[in-house]
Symmetry: C2
Subunit: 325 residues, 2 copies
């Protein structure tokens, strides 16, 4: 009797499992079908493209790929809010045009100051303190700050279809990684809760850090110098250096991800490169080749010929943000 | 009947499992007991020191901790053998005293040239080629080269007790990592087969690398500049940067590992720092504070007061090399 009950239970569970849709927020379009076909081809033991679980490595850009990046990178808003807090304590802190613009939340003025202005603001807010203290301040900001146009918490501005894709890949024994131009220590604070990606699977841009014993306690601190920029060619370089493996799937949204997709898809066997194309002015923002943030020209032009999947956000996604239906 | 047979089988398997000794090459001394007590304390769900599997991170130095390092670092022998091969092809290749000494396998002359000589030899043999080509040459060397005094292949000169410890820790849901001053791309070639440690769990010293598309094919190459030295304070810095987590167990053998053990054991909760002390002149080489390679002074002096476990190779290990009984 017990045997028969167990058999019945197994059949019910198996049927439910087969029926469960791994990508419920993806529309019934080619994009969805291509993703599922690719995953099937590398995970089915009988497939000529079968890949052993240890080599099922999937890498994703963050800004504009896993969460929003408009009107400016969210990390820059964190930096601006942090300058403002510092000015509240010490009114003389905003001693330059860049810091004044950041304190006022005037990102257009900041952008006009160019890269030097942005580096000044990021350096002022991302160094001179321990990694622990920095991450505590990010955690506090993530818990309380709201996006200027949607009013959502920033972790509500992750893309629901991409969160589902990450989870689907892990269910199929992929290891999922973030490889982003964003700050390593910034992203690690929320990546596990927002995406199910633990700290050791986050790759990003990082400052120099120092190790020092202060009053008998070892402290690792962020120093005012960028040690590595995880963008463009830096992405495949960082992946090779950190993992020693070439991914079989890479996802991005801008030309900063081009080299990562190029390297990934040039490997032998089945590979998938995918680009999130921001086509949805209604639910998000429509932008590509002319945008200052997340500029996408080469990927759109060359991607299709390279076999990359261009995801049309407006048509391929039934839902956009995790925090909004 | 089937149910009873299964029950009997389960009991037999359980009994065998309990009886299996996870550390058969360790003598019945305090060292072995302390390791097992520590592992029990962080893995038993009812323990006040219980640590969730995601945070069971164990890091180990390589040279002198997981395999031998005498009479010189094995990687330097690889470099010398490589110079010799290059000279066979191009007799003018050995254009300096350092390269001549390396080609002749005269490591004493090389050592007399100081750090500059060693850097010259390593640069000449570890850059100017793709990562793939470099690793193919390491694989070839590892498969064929023999140690000058033992005659063993280098992968036979891993320490059997440490290989067992790594395996025991993984069975208890630890993640095991190498964190070594040795070369990242060098170690990755054999770490998985020798230690069960996959490429993404190997941290080491690395050269700059470049990404370039050559005749339509993306290539990552090793450049003639050291980007990061994974020694002393560099070890905790690299662990924090790569994992974003503080280990709960760290093993080393020289003062180059001091900062890594210091940082690991300063964390909250149960922690284990262990030092392999080379006391066995008979089965290996006895050396510590006066050695040029693997110099161990501070660790021996301060380790016991810090609660670190000093492993006395002669007394605590029943067996040394995996390749020799």
């Amino acid at each position: 009797m017990l045997d028969r009950a167990l058999l019945a239970l197994s059949l019910i569970l198996a049927a439910n499992y087969a029926a469960a849709d791994p990508l419920p927020s993806w529309a019934e379009t080619d994009a969805r079908a291509r993703i599922i076909d690719f995953v099937d081809s590398v995970t089915n033991a009988g497939s000529p493209d079968y890949v052993t679980p240890a080599d099922r490595v999937a890498v994703f850009d963050n800004d504009g790929t896993l969460w929003g990046e408009q009107p400016v990178y969210f990390q820059l808003i964190f930096a601006g809010d942090t300058v403002q807090k510092m000015v509240d304590t010490d009114p003389d802190f905003a001693s330059s045009d860049a810091l004044k613009a950041a304190a006022a939340g005037d990102y257009q003025a900041l952008a006009e100051g160019g890269e030097a202005a942005i580096i000044e603001v990021v350096t002022a807010t991302h160094s001179g303190l321990s990694v622990d203290d920095f991450q505590a301040s990010v955690a506090d900001w993530i818990a309380t700050a709201r996006h200027p146009t949607t009013g959502l918490p920033y972790t509500g501005m992750t893309y629901q279809p991409m969160v589902e894709l990450l989870s689907y890949l892990r269910d199929e024994d992929f290891k999922t990684y973030i490889v982003s131009g964003g700050g390593l220590h910034f992203m690690r604070v929320f990546a596990e809760e927002a995406y199910g990606i633990p700290p050791e699977n986050v790759l990003g841009t990082y400052t120099e850090t120092s190790y020092e014993v202060v009053d008998g306690v070892p402290v690792i601190s962020k120093e005012p110098a960028i040690a590595f920029v995880d963008d463009k060619e830096g992405k495949p370089i960082n992946i090779e250096r950190t993992l020693g493996k070439r991914p079989i799937l890479a996802g991005g949204n801008s030309d900063g991800d081009f080299a990562m997709l190029e390297w990934t898809t040039a490997g032998e066997g089945a590979r998938l490169g995918l680009i999130v194309h921001h086509t949805d002015a209604e639910r998000e923002v429509a932008y590509d080749c002319d945008s200052h943030i997340g500029r996408l020209c080469d990927g759109l032009e060359q991607g299709p010929d390279r076999g990359w999947l261009i995801i049309d956000m407006a048509n391929d996604w039934d839902r956009v943000f995790t925090g909004a239906r």
